[in-house]
């Protein structure tokens, strides 16, 4: 767990990651709040807050008396949201670090290409 951000946000991101990677398929059931709490060793109320964040965003939905399920189309929605954040969260720090190390834009592009090939 990252100390600087609320745990419930990290729980929500963890679930989103599992949906993105296909580990949690659409229309399948996600673990219960108490299961998340026991697994991550966190307060169940905090786990609940993370799950509810995704319910509010329409990523998960509740089936009464059964549990939480991954909503249809949520994988594409999460991917779209993450794409918007990609530049600020990944590209900007990458370019900043490259500048610090004196890596030119062309060298940087080469490195990315090489990474892809390997």
């Amino acid at each position: 767990m990252d100390e600087s951000r609320p745990i419930f946000v990290q729980i929500a991101e963890g679930i989103e990651n599992d949906i993105l990677s296909g580990l949690l398929a659409e229309e399948t059931q996600v673990p219960s709040t108490n299961e998340f709490a026991a697994y991550y060793r966190i307060n169940p109320a905090t786990a609940g807050k993370g799950v509810n964040l995704l319910v509010d965003e329409g990523v998960l939905y509740k089936k009464r008396g059964i549990g939480m399920f991954v909503a249809e189309g949520s994988r594409a929605r999460i991917a779209a949201k993450r794409r918007d954040q990609f530049a600020s969260e990944f590209v900007r720090p990458l370019v900043a670090e490259a500048t610090k190390l004196g890596i030119s834009r062309i060298e940087l592009a080469d490195l990315i290409r090489k990474e892809e090939e390997s």
């Binding site: 600087s4 609320p6 745990i7 419930f8 026991a38 060793r41 966190i42 307060n43 905090t46």
Partner: protein
């Protein structure tokens, strides 16, 4: 949220010494609270006052809406696990477990039995002959299996090893999930429990200095590190909780930063590091003189 305990302007003096100084806070129902602070900060005194084991000098306490003093009805809902619980001389752990249901109507004997196995507690050895950790295990078992609507754990794990402490946290979370109740954990091992806590109350010199949800506390302080001049410029006009210098480098702990602040810090070549709950509390409860001596 309903409060099971409401404390207002509470104070307790022992002669010239003020142990609790105008404390006001409430304990919310079905929530795990951390009651944190340094040795002698007033944590135990507060818990003793709330559980009617001592008389307040001033202020008021409502325990389940009533005064706790000599009030067996309100106190029947409470389990207080003390650091230095005393038992009758000839007692063995099995006697403790056998008598517990007389005091705790919600006592779960099967759960207690499971905990005895988890903590490897010898039931038939005299309590006097037990190790410090085994003695602590008895308290932890009673605190968990009592399922009291309000349970206080006052430094429950002196002498408990890391495995036993983890077992305690796991069992507490599991059982709390199935049987929600109000728990107050008083401890020095803040990093270990910080993820279990929903609310945090910090006491220092008898005063409540933090009373907040742990989500709000996370990220409420950040350490900014980098070249001294850049750090100085960045922290100018902010409240600095703590400062360290190493040659031309400097690091300063400041309050919550906005997204714009973070970008500005990154542009200025400063590194940002999160401050854990434990560090935050160390920094807010350390007096300046100690810091200047330490640094």
């Amino acid at each position: 949220m309903t409060a099971v305990v409401e404390v207002s302007n509470l104070s307790k003096r022992f002669g010239q010494f003020t142990a609790v100084d105008g404390a006001s806070f409430s304990i919310e129902e079905n929530t795990i609270h951390g009651l944190l602070g340094r040795n002698g900060a007033g944590k135990t005194t507060l818990m003793q006052l709330i559980t009617g084991q001592d008389f307040a000098t001033g202020g008021s306490i409502r325990l389940f809406g009533e005064s706790p003093v000599e009030n067996s009805r309100a106190l029947a809902n409470v389990c207080f696990v003390k650091e230095s619980q005393k038992y009758p001389d000839d007692f063995k752990p099995r006697h403790v477990l056998k008598s517990a249901p007389w005091f705790f109507p919600e006592w779960d004997a099967a759960f207690a039995e499971r905990l005895v196995a988890d903590f490897r507690l010898p039931l038939n050895r005299r309590i006097k002959k037990l190790s410090r950790g085994q003695l602590s295990a008895i308290g932890v078992i009673v605190g968990l299996a009592s399922r009291a609507p309000l349970t206080f754990f006052d430094e429950p794990y002196l002498g408990l090893d890391a495995v036993a402490r983890q077992t305690f946290y796991d069992r507490l979370l599991e059982d709390y999930a199935d049987h929600p109740r109000t728990v107050v954990l008083s401890t020095h091992l803040i990093d270990e429990v910080s993820n279990l806590l929903e609310r945090v109350i910090v006491v220092d010199e008898g005063r409540i200095i933090i009373d907040s949800s742990s989500d709000d506390l996370r990220g409420s302080a950040v350490t900014v590190a980098g070249p001294r001049a850049a750090v100085d410029t960045f922290v100018a006009g902010r409240e600095v909780l703590h400062r360290e210098q190493l040659g031309g480098l400097s690091s300063a702990t400041v309050g919550r930063l906005s997204e714009a602040d973070r970008t500005a810090a990154a542009r200025a070549g400063l590194e940002l590091a999160p401050v854990s709950l434990q560090q935050l509390i160390v920094r807010t409860t350390t007096s300046d003189t100690e810091w200047s001596q330490a640094s």
